[in-house]
Each structure stands twice: as C-alpha cells, then as structure tokens.
C-alpha cells in the first residue's frame, strides 16, 4: 500500500500531523512529532527519487478520477529532486531548531509554531508533487501564508513589518499567477499541466496565451525574488526566527524556481519561449541581479542581510540558466537549486549559532569570534568556498555548467557577468572571514545581557556540519544528481542548442 500511494503519503503525512501538533501540550512533544514526520518524509522522498530517476513517471489520480478531469500527482525526475531537497532541508533544520527556537519564541506558542511549520512543509511538498496547475496555486498559497505567520514570530518588531511587506507582495504575485491560469483556462479548457502542454501547441500565437504567460511569469517572479521584485527578501531573511531563515532560505525560493521551470518549459514549451522575449528578459534580469545584488551584499553591516542579498544574486544565476534555454543552461539551474540550498542552509545555520551565543548578527559584534568558536568558523569557511565556486565543492558544479552554457552560445558579456559575480562573492565572504578570525575580540555589551563566546552545543553543530559535508560530497560525487538532472531536462523537452 505504501508503494502504491508513495507520492501521496509525502503530502498527507505532514498534513495529518499539523493539527495533531496543534493539540499537543507545549514543550518538547510538538518538536518531536515534527522531527519524526520530517525524517519519514525524507525517506519517502528518497524512495520516490529512486523510482523515477531512469525516466519513469509516477502518476497518481486523487479520488480515482482519471486525468484530465481529476487532479493527478505526476512525479518525474524534476519534481523528485526538489521534493527530496525540501524534505532533506526540513529533516536537517528540525534538530537545529530545538535549541534555537526555544531561545527565540515564547513557550506558550511552541505547539502552534510547529503546527504552522508542518503546514508550510505540506505546502512546499504539495507544490512539488502536483500535476494540476490550480492545485499548484492552492499549495503555493498554503506555503506562503504559513511562511508569513512563521516570519512574524521573530524577536525583533521589524519581523512584523517584514512579514506584512512579504504578504502584500506575495499575494499580488499569487493573484497574478491566478489570472494567468484563468487566461490559459479560457483558451484550452483544462487545468492539468500535461494536457495544457498538448492543447497549447496549436494555439501558441494567440494573444490570450501570451498574456496568460506574462501574468504567470511575473507572478512567479515575485515569489522567486527575481530582480527587481526582490524587495521583500532582505527584510524577511534578517528578522525571521533563525531556524525559519534557514528553512525558507533553503527551500521557499528554490521551489518557486521549480515552478518557473515547470510552467515555462513544461506547460509552455521551449518553442514558445523562443517566440516571446522571455529568454532575453531572463538573461538581462539575471545579469543585472547577479551584479547589483552581489555589490549590495558587500556594503551591509548585518551578516544575515548580506547573506540575503547573496541569495538574490544566486537566484539570478538560476534564472540565467533558464534564459539560455539549452541543455547546459537548464542543467545548471536545476543543479544550482540543489547546491544553493545546501550552501545557504549551512551559512544561515552558522550565523544562527553565532546569534544563539552572542545575541546579535552585526559585523562589529562578532569580531574575533572565529578563534573562540573554531568549528563554526571552519563551517563558514567551507560553505563560503562553495558559494564562491571553488573546485571540489558543490558550488563549482553549478558555476561550471553555467559557464559551459554561456560559452556554447557565445554570450561573452554574460560569461563575464558570471565571473564578476564570483569575484564579488569572494569580497563579501572574505569580509566575514576577516571579521571573525583576524580582528581583535571585544567584550562590549550588546544589550541582550548574557553572552557566551564559546563553542555552540552539539545539537546545533551537528546539523550544520551535516550540510557542510554534503557541500563537499556533492562537489566530488556528482553521479546521482547529474543523472537525475539529465532525465529531468530530457523530460522537459529541451534539446541541445543548435545555431
């Protein structure tokens, strides 16, 4: 029975666990339930990836109604990679969250917190599993609404305004997406993504189809934090509770990139993209995003805000890969979805450990801390190397494919922009490493009272090092990821680039 309902169990298990967590008493029990659920989902997602890695597709009809009249869950290699990523990040964040959340959130809110966390998890997994475009909108809104609530629980009062700004922009984005879905429904009469692809083929020149496409792309771009629609991201990542920063930085925008890939290449095919200005727009916005966001990251005073701008730059890399619309480009995007989640997850976890110990994430407060917290510092160093794209780490693989895609199409300005982005990343990561290791340690009061400038407890360090080692592992042993990506790109219908 598990084999038959595999793709559905990934969504139903956390969905049933969320109300149970809301009914549990405050304490460690809700955390334990969330932890068990996330590990179970990780095992299910890994199983699912093994089933589809060779090109098979899992099709599951809800309620026994056959598609396209019923909602179906359709899993191919692309979904399975992203679902595994979401489950893995949750499985690693929850052990980290035990101590971190207890320090940042009132005890009376703990059971509701983990319940809403599980709802966000359901939403993100549902987005990856579904094959029906309206169902995708519903899960998108479930994950977004729970994310707004989770962000607003941060300690600083600016978390409230950050959540409000994200809510306004995110809802506008989701409504634009809904308008796009409505316009394509008017033209084709179906909501199933595979069926939409087939029915759109003969009518690709209609103006309604183009308008629907435009609305959908802008809507997803708001969720993706594509430049210039990224204004909500720095505030959200800076003021949210630490474990939520880790979780959202590593999953929410990546799932939005997956939605963009699925809509642009899976529903509207590659031929359509070449007759619209979409690919040139992606290239242009990607290049501007990489350079401007990396430059903005250099001048920040707060480490979390610096990492947030760095995230905007990395997402622009993924969009660049989509703009190339070739095998190398899409491979780069999908591989970077996976690798960036690992890198940013590790970096945010390390910064969270610093916040746990000294209560602040400003550069001037953490001077010289690296010498007193050696393990954390080593983790930041390795994750920083991965961010820059040093060979031997996961970040190198994605930058390599991106450069291959640029060189293949002889887009020299874009290749130059990619290199400049990496150089700027060196500058801001060096700024962090220099502050941590080479500056003199000061013992001034930060205003939170007790600070302890010593190494962090093991339950915070272990998940961090798990992610750091994953960075190195996936930089050296790339077989599984590249095989899955090749299958995914093939199924998306993108062929090799021809002149």
């Amino acid at each position: 029975m598990i084999e038959q309902n595999l793709s559905l169990l990934l969504v139903v298990v956390p969905l049933l666990a969320a109300p149970i967590a809301a009914m549990l008493p405050n304490g460690r029990l809700p955390w334990l339930l969330a932890l068990a659920v996330s590990w179970l989902c990780f095992i299910l997602a890994a199983w699912q990836l093994m089933v589809v890695i060779d090109g098979d597709v899992i099709q599951y009809s809800l309620g026994g109604w056959a598609p396209p009249w019923g909602i179906e869950y359709r899993i191919d290699a692309l979904n399975a990679i992203v679902a595994l990523l979401v489950a893995a990040i949750a499985a690693v964040t929850l052990p980290y969250a035990l101590l971190s959340i207890e320090q940042e959130i009132n005890k009376e809110q703990l059971s509701l917190f983990y319940s809403v966390f599980l709802l966000c998890f359901v939403g993100l997994l549902g987005i990856t599993q579904t094959g029906d475009i309206f169902n995708l909108f519903v899960f998108l809104e479930i994950s977004s609404l729970s994310a707004y609530a989770l962000i607003a629980m941060g300690r600083d009062r600016r978390a409230l305004t950050a959540a409000f700004q994200y809510m306004i922009m995110g809802t506008i984005g989701a409504t634009f997406f809904l308008i796009g879905v409505g316009l394509t429904y008017v033209e084709t009469g179906t909501l199933n993504m595979l069926d939409l692809n087939q029915r759109l083929q003969p009518i690709l020149e209609h103006r309604t189809v183009h308008t629907g496409f435009a609305f959908m792309v802008v809507g997803i771009a708001l969720k993706l934090a594509l430049f210039p629609l990224h204004l909500w991201l720095p505030n959200v990542y800076t003021y949210a509770p630490t474990a939520i920063s880790v979780f959202l930085a590593a999953t929410a925008t990546k799932v939005a990139v997956y939605v963009m890939l699925r809509v642009v290449f899976g529903v509207f095919s590659n031929d359509f993209v070449s007759i619209t200005p979409a690919d040139d727009l992606f290239l242009l916005l990607g290049v501007i995003g990489v350079i401007l966001a990396s430059a903005a990251a250099i001048s920040q005073h707060d480490v979390k805000r610096m990492l947030a701008y760095s995230s905007v730059a990395q997402i622009s890399y993924m969009v660049l890969g989509m703009g190339f619309a070739s095998v190398y480009g899409l491979t780069a995007s999908i591989v970077h979805i996976f690798n960036h989640a690992l890198m940013k997850g590790a970096l945010f976890m390390a910064v969270g450990i610093i916040v746990y110990r000294i209560g602040s994430s400003r550069f001037k407060d953490m001077a010289g801390l690296g010498r007193q917290m050696p393990w954390t510092f080593a983790a930041i160093f390795i994750a920083g190397l991965s961010l820059i794209g040093v060979p031997g780490t996961a970040g190198f693989i994605s930058k390599w494919y991106l450069m291959l895609a640029a060189i293949e199409q002889q887009a020299w300005p874009v290749a130059l922009a990619i290199l400049i982005g990496s150089l700027l990343a060196v500058i801001y990561m060096w700024k962090l490493i220099e502050t941590l290791f080479f500056e003199k340690a000061e013992q001034h009061e930060i205003g939170q009272g007790v600070q302890q400038r010593s190494e962090a407890p093991l339950s915070l360090l272990l998940p961090l090092w798990l992610l750091v080692l994953a960075n190195i592992y996936f930089g050296i042993e790339t077989q599984v990821l590249l095989k899955a990506t090749a299958t995914a790109v093939d199924l998306l219908g993108v062929a090799d680039y021809h002149e």
Binding site: L8, L15, Y60
Partner: protein, 145 residues
C-alpha cells in the same frame, strides 16, 4: 450594546435561526448551492453577532478557546481520515466509491464526511479569529463608547 432592548431580543431570537440555516446550507451542499465553507461561516456569524450584543465573555463561557482549538484540529483530521480510510480500503486517496456497499452511497457518505470536516474547521477558525481580535486590550485612541 447590552442596554439596547431591541438588539437583545433580536439577538436571542435570531441565533437559533442562524444556526438552523447554517445546518441547512451544510447538508444541502449535495443538491444545491452550499457546502462546508459557507455553512461554517454562517454558524460562526451567529456566535459573533451574539457576542457583539452581549459581550465576548458570555460567548467565551459557552465556547471556550481551548474547545475551538480542538475542534479546528478535529475537522482537518476528519477530512484527512476519510481520505486515509479510502486508502486503507485499497483505493486512491479520497476515492469515495469504496466507503460503502455501492459507489453511489459511497460518494454520498464521502462528500458528507469531508464537508462536515470542512464546516467544523471553518466555523471554529472564524470564531477563533474573532476571539483573537476582540480579546486584545487595545488603547483607545478616539472617544470611548
């Protein structure tokens, strides 16, 4: 508002009528416009109207916040449980055909159960929202009542 005789009388008479209408809408979702969400909202509106006339404390004594939290969770679990029950019977998630002896009565039973779950959750959640907003002590920045 407690001192206004007309409002007091109307609230007392209207509340059971509103509740009855809510149940009518809930169970007629099968045959006409209606269903869980609409019925849940109408039921909670009955409670909210009563609370606006007689005060939040009166309604909180009848329907405490802890009961609402349990009810909201139970509604979601009823919905999910129906789906899981059909999975245990061998079909797909929410495959109502297998819930009873023949497909037609299975569909009836399935829709009834999920709509009941939705109605319970929606009414408790909207009432919880009202409690959360009305129960806060906010400093008045205009004339009082």
């Amino acid at each position: 508002m407690k001192h206004n005789l007309i409002l007091r009388l109307i609230a007392k008479y209207l509340f059971p009528i509103i509740a009855l209408f809510a149940f009518y809408v809930q169970f007629h979702g099968d045959y006409g416009p209606g269903g869980g969400f609409q019925a849940g909202v109408i039921l909670s509106v009955g409670f909210i109207f009563y609370a606006m006339v007689f005060g939040l404390k009166t309604v909180e004594q009848a329907v405490p916040m802890s009961l609402l939290r349990v009810l909201a969770s139970m509604g979601v679990l009823i919905y999910g449980g129906t789906g899981v029950a059909s999975m245990l019977m061998g079909g797909n998630f929410l495959d109502y055909d297998l819930l009873s002896q023949d497909p037609v009565s299975g569909q009836h039973l399935g829709i009834l159960l999920v709509e009941a779950g939705v109605g319970i959750t929606v009414s408790s959640v909207t009432l919880m929202i009202f409690y959360a907003f009305a129960g806060r002590d906010m400093p008045a920045d205009g004339e009082g009542q």
